[in-house]
Symmetry: C2
Subunit: 135 residues, 2 copies
């Protein structure tokens, strides 16, 4: 399974970009994603920690973008929500007495690291503005 964090976060940011002058409530956003507002607020908390958005509490409060959408890349969003891609590891520590078991994770890590560089290059070239303007 893969968490929906990236998809949810980019959905939130796209909405914020579409309404640049409003503080959008978590409930409004949740209505577009079809997601519980608490979960929206959790993702927003993450965005706030990275200074991508700002929120206002209280009545008529909500959240708005705090950065220029042209300067925020999908790579940054990816890193805020995923850290890394890859094709996974076996759950248990492999057998250290086997030459393959002993080294496989290190080789997989190297492979996945290349994948990340690869994907990062792609995502670096796309800004939130680019993404949002497709709609």
């Amino acid at each position: 399974m893969i968490s929906g964090k990236f998809a949810i976060t980019i959905h939130i940011l796209t909405l914020l970009h579409k309404f640049p002058n409003d503080y959008l409530s978590s409930e409004f956003i949740a209505g577009s994603i079809n997601l519980n507002p608490v979960l929206v607020r959790k993702e927003i908390a993450n965005l706030k920690a990275h200074h991508i958005v700002e929120s206002k509490e209280g009545k008529n409060g909500g959240t708005k973008l705090a950065v220029n959408a042209a300067d925020l890349t999908l790579k940054q969003i990816f890193e805020m929500t995923f850290e890394t891609i890859g094709l996974g590891f076996a759950k248990n520590q492999p057998n250290p007495d086997c030459p393959v078991g002993k080294n496989i994770n290190q080789h997989l890590e190297a492979l996945y690291s290349e994948m990340n560089q690869n994907v990062s290059r792609q995502l670096e070239g796309i800004s939130l503005e680019d993404f949002s303007n497709q709609f």
Copy 2:
């Protein structure tokens, strides 16, 4: 979370490549991965369905490679175990009455499709033999 299928499968194949003349038992393989033998047999069943390995039942049975390791690419292994990478989708159907909700999944799919092509190109260039010879 991400399933360990790819890692487990490539671990199995690396072992088979290291012992090209033996039928390896699921128990032996499981000992290297540190995984339940039944799960090893399940991944082997998948490999068999793709004609990558062949098994022999009964005493002294086991599994061996049925293809040339130089001709089997990590891309093929990836496709046998994952189908696709990506950064996920929100679990619920987004709101079709919202212009963003209505179209976001389609745009994400396009993005992920590019990611896949990107990663596939990388994995295409690495054979099982290449991977295994690192050990």
